[in-house]
Symmetry: C2
Subunit: 218 residues, 2 copies
DNA sequence: TCACAATTCAAGCATATGCTTAAATCGGGT
DNA sequence: ACCCGATTTAAGCATATGCTTGAATTGTGA
């Protein structure tokens, strides 16, 4: 019924989504035009407005399609680490915060590289213009992770936790978006670590950062 | 000779620069148009091309005007910390890497808030399209800081140093660009720390991150 | 005062942008 | 075979973009 038997030709709507995802990952939310999209998807300009209402709504839909499952998986992993009243370690918590990027990509047909860039863009470009529907979700994620961290690091200032979570976002965004560039700029002197290694390195860094002795006291 | 005695009316060229700096800080490199600039500066459209050649050259000039002194000050501070063959501590090095943002702003008439945002944009947006003239300078900064860190943390992998420097960029960019947003999203639950406090918190976090025991060995 | 260069200006050019429209085409159900 | 709603299409609209032009205006040195 929804499979036309034609292999290369997905629905117009899907072709638009796929093309837009790639373009956004490569060039960012500000730099992609309607005609860039319809050109890449080999689709009429009007199709975007027909299927999504407007360019902005298309972009929001893409942000939601990617961020929502990541956030859901984050909460799920955190809950699992705290099941049976266990106290999650800082490393558990950071794993739960970061790894969903890695697991969600597996369910997607996009290349890892593009997916990571797109997620980076969602964190950076998107943060000001995040779809309203997602704000409560983000607040919830921030809340449960903040609570978990305050339990895991007794005596830490709640404000310090928020800022350090913010820094963790920065570490992720920088790596997702500009990791490739670092490899190029240093002519490979930074190595070309596989994704799992990179994640562990980020977690090591942020883990130590969270445990930094400063910023303690009630 | 270059002072017309008129207080409010700087040269056309300066008015263009100032207006562009503000607009770039607020909206980013992709979203500012020629007419946004000439409108804000109350200047004819042709003036930009007359004084700067093109919109792109204007943007490059602004990037250089801000990044170059910051990078110079970074190297200067690092050299000072290593004078007389002293071994700079990790904290010295991070101070030298971050504080220049703070000292350079003082020499500028822009508001702190706008200046920080602009610097954040230079790190994030600009990193792909950095003016060619600045690439060697950046490589030099990376080189001297990497060397200093490898001396300060004996046995750390050079690749790990590069990645952790990269993370440090991310922490700075996220804070410079989106610090305001965090304050808003959390309704002030993160406090509203003054600039010096924020810098110390970033340094604490990255300091601990660099000293993380992982990633050691030759 | 006058000539000359530097600067500013209004106007316009070519192209790109997001979106709409009205007509054509498709596809399934009867 | 026919109809009708869903989808796709070509064409165009209004506006915005970066930049150029040729004329006006300004400032300066002789």
């Amino acid at each position: 019924m929804n499979q036309k038997g034609n292999i290369t030709k997905a629905t117009t709507k899907d072709r638009i989504l796929e093309a837009t995802e790639c373009l956004l990952a490569e060039h960012g939310f500000e730099a992609v035009s309607l005609r860039d999209i319809t050109g890449a998807a080999a689709v009429n300009v009007a199709a975007v407005n027909y299927h999504f209402g407007s360019k902005e709504k298309l972009f929001e839909e893409i942000q939601c399609r990617y961020i929502a499952p990541v956030n859901a998986e984050r909460v799920r992993m955190l809950k699992r680490a705290m099941a049976d009243d266990r106290v999650a370690t800082v490393r558990d918590i950071l794993e739960a915060f970061m790894r969903p990027l890695l697991t969600v990509v597996k369910r997607n047909e996009m290349s890892e590289r593009l997916f990571f860039k797109l997620m980076g863009r969602c964190i950076v470009d998107g943060q000001g213009g995040l779809p309203d529907a997602m704000v409560p979700e983000f607040k919830e994620v921030a809340r449960v992770f903040t609570n978990a961290l305050m339990t895991a690091i007794p005596g830490i200032h709640p404000e310090v936790v928020l800022w350090r979570l913010h820094y963790t976002f920065g570490v992720m965004a920088q790596t997702l978006l500009h990791g490739e560039l670092l490899v190029k700029l240093t002519h490979g002197a930074c190595g070309e670590p596989d994704v799992e290694t990179q994640f562990q390195q980020m977690i090591d860094f942020c883990h130590a950062g969270f445990l930094s002795g400063e910023g303690m006291g009630a």
